[in-house]
């Protein structure tokens, strides 16, 4: 088991020493949970520490768009997080999509859990555009997403599929990579 596990796990980096691999803590436990406020702050950081390919629409857009597709788990947390913030001197706009047909190539696209069932359709819709797709369903990066958010030992973690990020031309800062739980690699994806 362990050798197979290690092989699949890819290069293991961040060992946040105290953080042993604990089972996931369930989602928001009521109003006191900081899960989505923290995840919202992650989304902002993902935008902050990424360079888009120079010729891409994302690189030249006047604002940085952070989008949510599907049932929005953030509530007001995302709005509060980005309020009055700039990324690379650009203002942030939030967009929320209920239907796949509306989804646009944002800078960061958060895909809600129920919508993860249709990941291939979402990737097809994005058509290889340099979008940081972020999801929280188990196996999101293995199925071709760029960043998978998870909760371990009551703390937020994220995992990056470096291969997909490279293929999309996304330049992820070493500061992101240093904190990522590990680099998943995948041959699937968009």
């Amino acid at each position: 088991m362990s050798s197979r596990g290690r092989q699949l796990a890819g290069t293991v980096l961040c060992g946040l020493s105290m953080a042993w691999a604990s089972p996931e803590v369930s989602r928001a436990e009521g109003a006191a949970s900081l899960e989505y406020p923290v995840k919202a702050a992650f989304l902002l950081n993902f935008a902050k520490f990424t360079e888009w390919p120079p010729d891409s629409p994302q690189a030249v857009a006047e604002s940085v768009s952070i989008c949510v597709f599907g049932d929005d788990p953030f509530g007001l947390a995302l709005d509060k997080t980005v309020e009055g913030r700039l990324v690379g001197g650009r203002p942030i706009v939030l967009r929320r999509y209920r239907s796949l047909a509306d989804v646009e190539p944002c800078h960061v696209l958060f895909i809600a859990k129920p919508e993860s069932e249709r990941l291939p359709l979402v990737f097809a819709r994005l058509g290889g555009q340099p979008v940081i797709t972020v999801g929280e369903s188990e196996g999101f990066t293995r199925r071709g997403g760029v960043i998978e958010l998870s909760v371990e030992n009551n703390r937020a973690r994220f995992e990056i599929n470096l291969r997909v990020a490279e293929r999309l031309g996304l330049g992820l800062s070493s500061r992101l990579l240093a904190v990522a739980r590990n680099f998943a690699t995948s041959t699937e994806g968009h």
Binding site: S17, G30, A31, E117, N182
Partner: protein, 702 residues
């Protein structure tokens, strides 16, 4: 109370004489028939004597201890660095009983919904038996939990506090924690089970003696639609479940679920009854379960209702009932209602409050041969109603995280009764209304970058036993990046429950609480990012253990009696490759003594456990295997039941098609023949457990 104390005693002694006339009948741990002593009570006296010179106790270890180092209280999360963000505890202590992190000074194991699915666990008992230090036994009527080597046969799981989303499920008559089909939450609705070993009284009060088990239920949003499942299993067992859950765009989250299970059980052979029908009993091992659960949440407000009714045939002729009589049965019903409100008051203070109501009803039917060729039914029952209220807060400032709260529980009914139907034997009814309250506080202090100190205490007041004060201290040191050392001390208590206090009229009214003090040293070491090893050594000092005794006239009563000292050690290895493979292994050793004498009944000295889950075809098909070895145990009758190992295997497939999942399980894969020690009310010294059995399950989501 129907009888006064004195009248009750008289009634009991009359009853005792009548019992003599009944021949080989009746002590019923759960019924007043037990007021008379015969036959088996000689054993009870022996049992009590043996206890006096014997042992209990324990062992433990654990997985997930906490690492709540930096509890930040930032003004704006967006200003934090990524590193800091990953150190924030997402769910803070506000929901006092929901979270492990608050309980840093203890050793915690967590079993998740994923494991429950991958291993095909059918009951909470199936889950707990895979954890270090826990053993689970059955007498084909109820299922019993032994922890840290103390699992006295006939004891009703009173030394474990069992919570559902932080709400106490132990009833107010037997203070029993149900762990099999009597338990009120379906395993399919469990998000995770948090097991915190060691005394938890400094936060939780009564019953948190050896461990606190908190079952966290799943939420409607995770289902986002409906789910229908059906299963067929060996021994004529069928079950079905319907669940519907959603979270609306407006933030309203709800879940409703119903389960039924019907089992015709096995045809069993008990050599002890070979004089009757060759010892063969058919059609008496039946089980029927009806279970319902509903929860509604909106913002910080949560309402929950849970109900379980379970009827079980008794095939063992316990309590001297007529062997092979299919009328022998018990019915247990548990209902829990709770309303909870939680909110964050700024970033530094979290607040949580709750009111809850509980109802427990037990009804037993016991046929006796009262005269040659004439049988009469004894009905025995208990009915409890209670309500509780609780408020707690967590305040974070600088290096301190302060948890504080108060709790009240009042009984509305604590009735026990027993009577014969259509036969002139006296019965009795006792009832009571006790009240209790507790106040607690705990401070987790960062003393330095590597050292954390946890100081906690709780004061409880009980109508019957007065005040109880229990501290808990934890010193946690990060020796280096990979290694954490913990030194933990705590005490806990258990008050005599209503059954122990008032069921047997000879029990002295001044029965006191039993107490435990535990000292434990823990080393945790990470081996890479995915593997962890935990070693622990502990000592338990148990005083005034409440034990059933017998007078020379063989009348039963409870008394504070035994002192038990125990030492134990445990070693556990856990590996978790998220979404890939998981595994855990543990070995536990426990040795307990009373005055240097032999071991307690049903107290295995060694236990070895392993769990592995691996994907076979991507994320769609998984194999989950688990195995447990339990070393030999003594029975109350003085014999020894040999050690055994049992393995279980489950294949589970998700997304067979868009909406279909399936699982196939083999329990007791190698058809190991093993028996559990039986308590005093059985003629059998041991009860044979199930051999190899199968379960096939399909679920369809819509």
């Amino acid at each position: 109370m129907m009888f006064g104390e004195r009248a009750d005693l008289q009634a009991a002694s009359v009853f005792g004489k009548v019992c003599l006339a009944l021949g080989n009948s009746t002590r019923r741990a759960r019924g007043p028939a037990g007021r008379c002593g015969l036959g088996r009570q000689v054993n009870a006296a022996r049992f009590a004597k043996r206890l006096r010179g014997s042992v209990a106790a324990a062992l433990v270890l654990a997985f997930g201890a906490e690492s709540t180092w930096a509890q930040q209280a930032p003004d704006t999360l967006a200003d934090l660095t990524l590193e800091e963000l990953t150190e924030i505890q997402l769910v803070s202590a506000s929901s006092k009983r929901l979270q492990n992190p608050r309980e840093a000074p203890s050793v915690v194991s967590v079993v998740t919904a994923v494991e429950i699915r991958q291993h095909g666990y059918r009951t909470l008992g199936d889950i707990l038996r895979t954890l270090p230090g826990f053993s689970v036994t059955s007498d084909r009527n109820y299922t019993y939990l032994g922890v840290r080597g103390l699992g006295l046969p006939g004891d009703y799981n009173t030394r474990i506090l069992l919570l559902v989303d932080g709400v106490r499920t132990n009833d107010n008559v037997y203070s029993e924690a149900f762990v099999a089909h009597e338990f009120v939450i379906d395993p399919d609705l469990i998000e995770r089970v948090e097991v915190s070993r060691g005394p938890g009284a400094s936060v939780y009060g009564d019953n948190a003696f050896f461990a606190v088990v908190n079952v966290v239920t799943r939420r409607g949003g995770e289902f986002d639609g409906g789910r229908i499942s059906a299963a067929g299993a060996s021994f004529g067992t069928w079950s079905g479940q319907v669940t519907y859950g959603r979270k609306t765009a407006g933030g309203l989250e709800f879940l409703a679920s119903g389960t039924v299970l019907d089992s015709s059980g096995q045809t069993l052979t008990f050599p002890e009854f070979s004089a009757t029908n060759g010892g063969v009993v058919a059609g008496a091992d039946t089980e029927h379960v009806a279970r319902a659960f509903a929860s509604v949440g909106y913002e910080g407000f949560t309402f929950q209702a849970a109900h379980n009714e379970r009827r079980k045939g008794i095939p063992t002729a316990s309590y001297g009932t007529i062997f092979g009589d299919p009328r022998s049965r018990t019915r247990d019903e548990l209902t829990l209602l709770s309303a909870r409100y939680e909110r964050a008051l700024g970033l530094r203070l979290d607040f949580s409050s709750r009111v809850s109501f509980g109802a427990y009803d037990y009804h037993g039917v016991y046929p006796y041969e009262v005269e040659p060729s004439r049988s009469a039914i004894n009905t025995d029952g208990a009915s409890g109603r209670w309500w509780g209220a609780e408020a707690s807060g967590t305040f974070r400032a600088g290096d301190h995280t302060l948890l504080f709260g108060g709790e009240y529980q009042g009984s509305l009914r604590q009735r026990q009764h027993s009577e014969y139907v259509d036969y002139p034997l006296p019965g009795f009814v006792v009832d009571n209304r006790d009240q209790r309250f507790g106040l607690y506080a705990q401070d987790d202090i960062r003393v330095g970058p590597r050292v954390r100190l946890s100081l906690g205490a709780r004061f409880d007041h009980y109508d019957d036993v007065g005040g109880q004060a229990n501290p808990r201290l934890g010193l946690i040191v990060a020796a280096n990046k990979a290694t954490t050392l913990k030194l933990l001390y705590g005490s806990a208590f258990r008050t005599p429950n209503e059954y122990e206090q008032h069921y047997y009229p000879l029990t002295h009214p001044d029965l006191e609480a039993e107490t435990i003090k535990t000292l434990e040293a823990v080393v945790e070491r990470s081996l890479g990012a995915h593997t962890r090893v935990v070693g622990s050594v502990f000592g338990n000092r148990i005083r005034q253990l409440i034990v059933l005794h017998s007078t020379e006239a063989e009348d039963l009563f409870f008394q504070n009696h035994d002192d038990v000292d125990a030492l134990g050690a445990e070693l556990a290895l856990e590996a978790q490759f998220r979404g890939r493979a998981t595994g855990r292994m543990s070995y536990s050793f426990q040795r307990a003594r009373t005055d240097g004498a032999q071991s307690l009944p049903n107290s295995p000295r060694h236990m070895l456990k392993a769990n592995v889950a691996v994907p076979i075809a991507g994320d769609r098909l998984w194999a989950g295997a688990d195995a447990q070895y339990v070393s030999s145990r003594q029975t109350p009758a003085g014999t020894t039941t040999p050690g055994f190992a049992v393995a279980n295997l489950t294949l589970s497939a998700r997304r067979l098609s868009r909406a279909l999942e399936a699982s196939a399980s083999v329990y007791n894969l190698f058809d190991t023949r093993y028996s559990d020690p039986a308590s005093e009310e059985h003629l059998q010294a041991t009860i044979l457990q199930d051999g190899r059995s199968f379960r096939l399950r399909l679920a369809w989501s819509f």
